[in-house]
């Protein structure tokens, strides 16, 4: 069996004159949480809908475990649980009825304990007999995950799952997604335009723009190495600024709060910078090294725009 559970090759889809996907490529490793990023209209939902056969691509190939999803549609869909944009249910029916309807369509007749187990996993215990029309958006999102899990698929696809959730709902959902990977060994593809969310949970990332893949790789690799931001918090910013500048560091002037300085550096240089600051004896209240996904994302999408402009 191939190491990649999903491979998308040269996917094209147009709606009239609008080119939604323009030769998109990506691959998802088995057992990872895969973050699928892009601005609104970048082509994330179209890609996911092509994968799930909701939209027919004009060209290209989508492979699941090395087999074409177009040719082996039902075999593929049997191994997928998904939420597309927002989970919608038969509002007059209870959560249990909705779950049973969904399971039956997968040809599965789950035991009551199995149904209650997924309800327990998503934290809907005690509400499972209530009509879904009484549920909040967060509860529907949880029920959507329960529905996606009930037939025990290999792959979970979540398209913008945090839409409409409050902060607590987002945190709960994040924890559930983590458990899907760690406790249930599922591969999870999660699309979002909320970068901070993806940064927190994704093992791998793919950023797309205008229907094309801009970058793909391991999150840790993409967000580290060469361009890290180090923030130093001190009550002697001017002295700190001079120290770092004299050491040849690329440091920006103190921030408007007057206490923090930010410098750009490679990951390898961070211990040395730390040593230099400690040896100077200047007071330090905080020292943070980071690379924000936001920075990477903006950098890449803006570059793509610039390149498009040049072409």
């Amino acid at each position: 069996m191939t190491d990649h559970i999903i491979e998308i090759q040269n996917l094209h889809k147009s709606f009239g004159d609008f080119r939604a996907l323009d030769g998109l490529n990506l691959s998802v490793r088995r057992g990872e949480i895969f973050g699928f990023l892009g601005c609104n209209g970048a082509g994330k939902s179209t890609t996911i809908r092509c994968m799930l056969s909701l939209i027919k691509p004009d060209a290209g190939e989508i492979l699941f475990n090395g087999k074409s999803t177009g040719e082996h549609r039902n075999e593929f869909l049997r191994q997928v649980g998904c939420i597309i944009e927002k989970p919608d249910f038969y509002a007059n029916l209870s959560a249990l009825d909705n779950l049973n309807i969904s399971a039956r369509m997968y040809g599965v007749k789950p035991k009551k304990q199995e149904v209650l187990a997924v309800i327990d996993l998503v934290g809907l215990n005690g509400r499972e007999r209530q009509a879904v029309k009484t549920y909040s958006q967060g509860m529907k999102q949880r029920l959507g995950i329960a529905q996606a899990l009930l037939h025990q698929p290999e792959l979970i696809i979540l398209d913008e799952p945090t839409n409409g959730l409050d902060p607590k709902g987002i945190i709960d959902l994040r924890n559930i997604i983590r458990r899907l990977k760690t406790d249930f060994h599922k591969t999870v593809i999660i699309s979002s335009h909320i970068l901070s969310e993806i940064e927190l949970i994704a093992d791998s990332l793919c950023i797309i723009d205008k229907g094309k893949t801009i970058i793909q790789g391991r999150t840790a690799e993409l967000l580290s190495e060469n361009e890290m931001l180090v923030t130093v918090e001190t009550d002697q910013p001017r002295e700190m600024f001079l120290l770092l500048q004299s050491a040849g560091r690329e440091v920006s002037a103190p921030a408007s709060d007057g206490h923090t300085l930010t410098l750009k550096t490679g990951r390898a240089a961070i211990p040395q910078i730390h040593r230099e600051i400690v040896q100077s004896g200047l007071p330090v209240y905080g020292f943070y090294a980071r690379k924000k996904l936001e920075d990477l994302f903006l950098n890449l999408t803006q570059n793509a725009d610039a390149n498009a402009g040049l072409n």
Binding site: R73, I84, Y90, N92, D97, I101, M105
Partner: protein
């Protein structure tokens, strides 16, 4: 497939709108029955007063068969609306509610989903017809008693003996079911195109209304298209109360209606299989 059909029936049963038809039929039938119970003979006398001027008619009484026939004639006009309320919602309701995304990401072909929905809508229609039959005919027989059925036509009067009414009523209900199946198939096709469930219901009724209006005008250009309009054949159930029985005409109408069902359903399958779900 059985599981799919069962699921679709369950969905229909869970919607409040599915019970509107049963409640409406009950209300209308009971009201007509009460009215006819109170003034039935006077109504009958009114109907045959023109005939009484030319003929002496005796032994014509008010009975369950006649009440059943009158109710059937009245209600058959409303039945398409009651059927379209459910069948017009079958696909568009899923689109409007957003459940279409979940439905079409299941390992079941789109054709099977359409078939399951169509069969479930047909079963619903059959139940509605049975309900109508039980209330309009069987309940009328119980309340008013059996008797010969007098059918007044524009140019003649047909008397059907009581013993001869059972198979005629059953056949009439059977053909009425076929007529309503055309409505189911049409609203189904419209439902596949629509993104809300009101549009297919309104358009179905508008088409029926338009075709019925065309059918009532005696204009040469309309006369050429009338035989091809399904509404022309939807009243064929009345032919079962003719004497002699116009078998050829009934078969032709049934064939044309069946052809409409095949065309509407095929178009639904072709379109729905190609449809991109972007909602």
């Amino acid at each position: 497939m059985l599981d799919l059909i069962r699921t679709e029936i369950f969905k229909i049963a869970a919607k409040p709108r599915s019970y509107i038809g049963f409640a409406a039929i009950f209300a209308i039938v009971v009201i007509i029955q009460i009215a006819l119970y109170a003034d039935g003979q006077a109504y009958l006398d009114f109907l045959i007063q023109s005939l009484n001027q030319s003929f002496e008619i005796e032994g014509m009484d008010f009975n369950g068969n006649l009440v059943g026939f009158i109710i059937l004639q009245t209600l058959i006009i409303q039945m398409p609306l009651l059927v379209a309320l459910v069948s017009g919602d079958a696909i568009s309701g899923e689109i409007q509610g957003g459940t279409i995304r979940s439905l079409l990401t299941k390992p079941v072909s789109r054709s099977r989903i359409v078939w399951a929905k169509f069969i479930a809508a047909e079963l619903y229609t059959l139940l509605l017809i049975l309900w109508l039959g039980i209330l309009a005919w069987i309940a009328s027989l119980l309340f008013f008693g059996p008797g010969d059925l007098v059918v007044l036509k524009s140019d003649s009067l047909v008397i059907v003996r009581n013993a001869d009414t059972v198979w005629r009523f059953l056949s009439a209900f059977g053909v009425a079911f076929l007529s309503l199946s055309v409505v189911v198939a049409l609203s189904f096709l419209l439902s596949a195109f629509a993104e809300n469930s009101i549009a297919p219901i309104i358009i179905t009724m508008s088409v029926i209304l338009l075709f019925t209006i065309i059918g009532t005008f005696d204009i040469p250009v309309f006369n050429q298209i009338k035989p091809f309009l399904f509404t022309t054949h939807m009243i064929v159930w009345r032919n079962f109360f003719d004497r002699p029985l116009p078998v050829e005409q009934i078969a032709q109408s049934a064939g044309i209606m069946a052809l409409h069902i095949v065309v509407f359903l095929s178009a639904t399958l072709i379109y729905f299989n190609k449809k991109d779900i972007t909602q």
